[in-house]
């Protein structure tokens, strides 16, 4: 078997399972009746989308040389900068995902307090029962 074929196959497995995670969490977000379960599905969905962004910025190995994190640890010279641009992965999705993780934490905290207020108001968190109740 060709090594390149196996590598492509394994990367495709990773991508397909991320897609499966997105589909399962969208199912949980729309069709599960309980509020807390919907919040859990939303966090899983946002994590999966972040992982897609990181995956887009990844660079595969070039001639057996591994990719590096986008960090320059020494004083930049012309040689080290050219090596950096040849090997480092894309830093832009990482910066965006770093922001998105923190924003996701804030949104989750807001939804948790909203759920607590829903429970004190309706004495249940089941969405089918909340739909029936008035006032």
């Amino acid at each position: 078997m060709d090594a390149e074929f196996i590598n492509t196959y394994l990367l495709l497995v990773t991508l397909t399972s991320l897609l499966a995670n997105a589909i399962i969490s969208i199912y949980g977000l729309f069709f599960k009746p309980h509020y807390t379960k919907k919040v859990i599905a939303l966090t899983i969905l946002s994590d999966t989308m972040n992982t897609f962004a990181i995956y887009l910025g990844y660079r595969t190995w070039v001639n057996g040389v591994n990719p590096r994190p986008p960090v320059l640890t020494s004083t930049p010279t012309e040689k080290s900068i050219s090596e950096f641009t040849a090997r480092a992965v894309d830093p832009l999705p990482q910066a965006l995902v770093l922001t998105a993780v923190v924003i996701g934490l804030a949104v989750t905290l807001f939804l948790v307090f909203l759920g607590y207020i829903l429970y004190t108001h309706y004495k249940t968190l089941d969405m089918r029962e909340i739909k029936k109740l008035k006032g």
Binding site: T14, G28, N66, L105
Partner: protein, 88 residues
């Protein structure tokens, strides 16, 4: 030698993402919400390994305390204040 190293890294990535599919499925299907939160924390741990292998160690440093520590902790506080079981 280098060819095998590349394949091994991709193999770990594939195995970790397949395990994360199992964790996500269990987290969505489970009726006990405490167990669902623990499965979702497990999925976050697999994603942290995946981020490390995708050469994003700075994301791992932020994502691990937020998604394995803070969000499950806050959700467990919500579950303890409200109800634990999801009805049929």
């Amino acid at each position: 030698m280098n060819v095998y190293a590349e394949t091994i890294v991709y193999l770990i990535m594939a195995v970790v993402s397949l395990l994360s599919v199992v964790a996500v499925y269990l987290a969505i299907v489970e009726r006990d919400l405490i167990k669902a939160v623990i499965y979702s924390a497990l999925q976050s741990g697999f994603y942290a390994v995946l981020y490390y292998l995708l050469m994003a160690p700075d994301i791992v440093l932020v994502y691990l305390p937020v998604a394995v520590g803070l969000i499950p902790g806050v959700l467990i506080v919500l579950i303890s204040k409200t109800e634990r079981w999801e009805k049929e």
